[in-house]
Every structure is written in C-alpha cells, then in structure tokens.
C-alpha cells in the first residue's frame, strides 16, 4: 500500500496535512496520536470512503478511489460497528462476503466468526450483542474477504481478555499470511506489541515514524505522553 | 369603454416596490451584521470569551 502526499481539509481546517508512507506485506504500523490529530480521517481515506483533497492511495498499484476493485483488498474496523442491528451476526458477515464477491459467502462468514471466537452467537441479532461481541463481529466482517490491507481504528476498545486474545491472534495470523496492517490506538503497549513500525500523528502530520526495533519504549512513552497532553 | 382599474395598478406597483425594497433592506442588514463579526474577528487575537454565537 502506498499513500502519497495525502491532504484533506474540512471547512478551512487541514485535518490531514501531507501524509506519505508505504506498507508492505507483513508490515504492521502502529499509529498513535491525540484526539483530533486526523487519524480517523486518514484511515477513511485509505479505505476509499473519503476522497483525498490532494495526493493518492494505491493498494497493489491500484488507486483505491476510482478502482472499486482496489477496495476489494481493503478491510476496515472503525469505532462504529458498521452492522445492521436487525440482522444477525451471520447475516451481517455473509452480506459483506457477498459484497466482496466471495465464491462461498456462507462458509467464509462462519470461518471469520470462528476466527474471532464469536461463532456461538452467529444467529443472534446484532443489537442483542454486547459492545464487545459486536466489535468482534465487526472485526470478523472486516476480515471475511482476507484483505491484503487491514485498517483498524482502536479495535481493542470494548474487548475483554478473550476478545483481545482472539484479535491479537487473528492480526498476527493475517500479518504472517502477507497482509499489511495499520493499527490506530491510544494504548502504547497494545500497539507496540504487534507493530513492526510506529508513528505519532499531530495536527494531520506524522511527527515521528520509525521502525519498531529502533525504539526505546520508555523514552517513546515519555515523549508520547508529553506530545499527547493537549488535544489537536 | 376602458375599465377604470387604476387602483389595481397602484396596488401592484406598491406591492412590488415593497417586496424589492424589503429584500434590499434584508441584504443590507445581514451585511452589516456580518461586517461587524468580521471586523471583531479580525482585530481581536483569539476571542475565547466573547466569541460571537455560531457561524
């Protein structure tokens, strides 16, 4: 995935102000930053939901915006569950599977639910599930077509230990399977555990971006706390 | 026989004039209000406290 010179303004304010980075298969970028730094806007642009004011996003060379095909390789987990509350967990994930044109939507849906260890509630309507279970179904939904680029916006929020474990295993398995991950989170330990690269975003720009191995965790935490003291 | 309906004409002309003038007036008032806000924003640095009501 290549993102070049991404800019997006909302009513005179530059939510994202010139972001460029590349993710290769097996990479996992942990993105930290205070509220309002533009993380969600960036994520929506990478997922093809929001057209960038300037710059471009390419997945395996195909621009995400124009080519609907490029979106077939992208999975998004956001704050909102993106589920239809009236439909059951299975129906939601199966609907997504059909949207991506999977040859076996039913089985793919069940496999995704099993991956997130929520298959026992497959036939419960989404609205009857707890916040954490909905989050798991939402993650299953984002992974049903085994995307080569997985974008997660604070996926761990609301997950209990079992849920977090399932998510970590799923993300690790996807990463080893050749997917590229972007993990937006406030939780340093969680983020750094999986990351191969780490970045901090302030006012729509990457103020720091380096490989995980080069990081001294304690210094990073100190600097992050001071950087994130004031919201953008 | 030419009907005597001059009163209708005056009614129509005055009504039209009222509507046009009312619109010109509304433009002028809105402009004045906005100018005041613009000047206020321009001169004061960061009017945290006295920020005028919403845009």
């Amino acid at each position: 995935m290549q993102a070049e010179g991404l800019v997006r303004t909302f009513g005179g304010r530059r939510a994202v102000d010139g972001v460029s980075f590349t993710l290769h298969a097996g990479d996992c970028l942990a993105l930290f930053g205070p509220n309002g730094a533009g993380k969600t806007t960036l994520l929506r642009m990478l997922a093809g939901l929001l057209a960038p004011g300037q710059g471009s996003v390419r997945v395996n060379g195909v621009p995400v915006k124009e080519g609907a095909a490029a979106r077939a390789q992208v999975g998004l987990v956001s704050h909102a569950s993106m589920l239809y509350s009236v439909l059951t967990a299975r129906e939601n994930v199966e609907f997504a599977a059909r949207l991506y044109g999977l040859p076996d939507p039913r089985d793919a849906a069940m496999r995704a639910l099993e991956l997130m260890r929520v298959e026992d509630r497959a036939d419960a309507p989404a609205r009857t599930l707890s916040r954490g279970l909905q989050q798991r179904v939402s993650i299953a939904r984002a992974m049903v077509h085994s995307p080569s680029l997985l974008l997660c916006d604070e996926p761990y929020t609301g997950l209990d230990d079992a849920g977090s474990a399932a998510l970590t295993d799923a993300l690790t398995e996807r990463r080893e399977g050749g997917a590229a991950l972007l993990l937006v989170t406030h939780n340093l330990t969680e983020g750094l555990a999986l990351a191969t690269q780490a970045a901090i975003m302030r006012r729509g720009r990457f103020v720091r971006h380096e490989a995980r191995e080069l990081l001294d965790v304690r210094a990073y935490q100190a600097q992050y706390r001071e950087l994130a003291a004031v919201h953008d | 026989m030419t009907p005597d309906n001059a009163s209708f004409t005056t009614a129509a002309y005055t009504l039209a004039a009222i509507i046009y003038l009312a619109y010109v007036l509304s433009l002028k008032l809105r402009l004045r209000r906005l100018r005041a806000r613009a000047i206020a924003l321009e001169t004061s640095a960061r009017p945290r406290s006295d920020r005028p009501e919403g845009a």
Binding site: G48, A51, A70, V74, S78, A80, L99, G101 | -
Partner: protein, 234 residues
Amino acid sequence: MTDIAVPTPPGMLAAAWLVARKDLAIEFRTRTAFLSALVFALLGVTIFYFAWDATAVAAADLAPGVLWVIFTFAGLLGLQRSFGSELADRAVDGLLGAPISRESIYLGKAFANLVFVAGILFVTIPAVVLFYNLPMGSGIAALAGIAALAAVGLVAVGTLFSAMAVNTRMAELLLPMLSLPFFVPVVMAAAQSSARLMAGRPVAEAMPWLRILVAFDIVFVTACTLAFPFTLDE
C-alpha cells in the same frame, strides 16, 4: 484461504440486487415502517370518503384523486426510513468500502423502496375499489399499471432526497419539501390518465399524460442514479 475460485466483485445490477435484498430483509424483520405506512394509507382512504358529501360528488370520480394523494404521502412515509438503517452504526461505511459502485447502492435502495411502495399500493388500490365501489373491469388493470409507473418516478426522486435529508437536522420536514414539487407532474399525469381510463374514455385521450409519466421516469431514474454519488461524503 480461498479455494480456486478468485473472488469477483459483483456487477452493477448484482450488487444492486444484494443491497435491495438486504434492505427488504431488514424491512421484513421489523415490518413497523411498512405496517404504519399501510395503516396510514387505509385510514386516509376512509377519512377522504367522509370528507366529501357523497351525494354531491360521485365516489367514482373521487377515487383516483384520493388514491394519488394517499399514495404520495404513504410513499413519503416509507422513504423516510430507507436510509435510517444505513446510518445507524455507520453501516453505510461497509457499503462504501465494498468493491461495488456507488450507483448500485442507489439502485438497490431505490428498488427496495419500490417494493415497499408497491406493497402499499397492492393493498390500497383494492381498498379504494372496495370503499368507493368502483366498477371492476379493465379500469383497475389500467389503474395498477399507471400506479406502477408513478411509483417508479416517486421512488427514483424520493430515494435520492432521502439519502440527502437523512444527513441533515430537519430530515422529516426536508424530505417532503424537496420531494413534493417533483411529485406534482407525476401525480397530475397519473390522476388525469387514470380518471380518463376509469371513466372508460378512449385510451388515446390518456396518451399525452402517459407519455409525460414515462418520460419523467426515464429522465429522473437516470438523473438520480448519476447524481447519487455526489450526495456521499466524498
């Protein structure tokens, strides 16, 4: 992971059908919107009957007019909720992120709305025939045909405006305000042509109105489909 068959994103119509099926499944499961629109329509038909002095105006002349007024407002009621389900929990992001075209989302929603409105008509027309004891015969088939044409026009415009109105503060007021001017030619054409056909007048007399109706459908289905992507937050 996936076996030999490579996943191929569905084409325009296939995707539209997927969206429509999902919408109808949701509608069938909740049924509240459909039932309320239906009861609204039936109540309207009965109330209209008592709004006129039956001796002065023959019920048969009244019937088409009543049908179209009720049909318009019941349709509006149905359109109101069509995008509500998408915005709850940002489910629309799931659609926008999928490898399907924006236009197919519109066509899917529009088709689901069409089925919704057709369902209401399917009950309201017999009710009007019953309550206003219209002569059975060919007139009813013509009425149903015209209703279908009118429904397409209303739904094409109504779905687009509902997609816009749902994102604003005053959705309930905005949707009727935006849609009703567009419903004028449709309702006028439908009422005039059905009145003539119901009164047994030669079809030729109703032709000019039917032409307007068909032209309206063609123009606005294409225009709304092309305009829909612009209503999304690109």
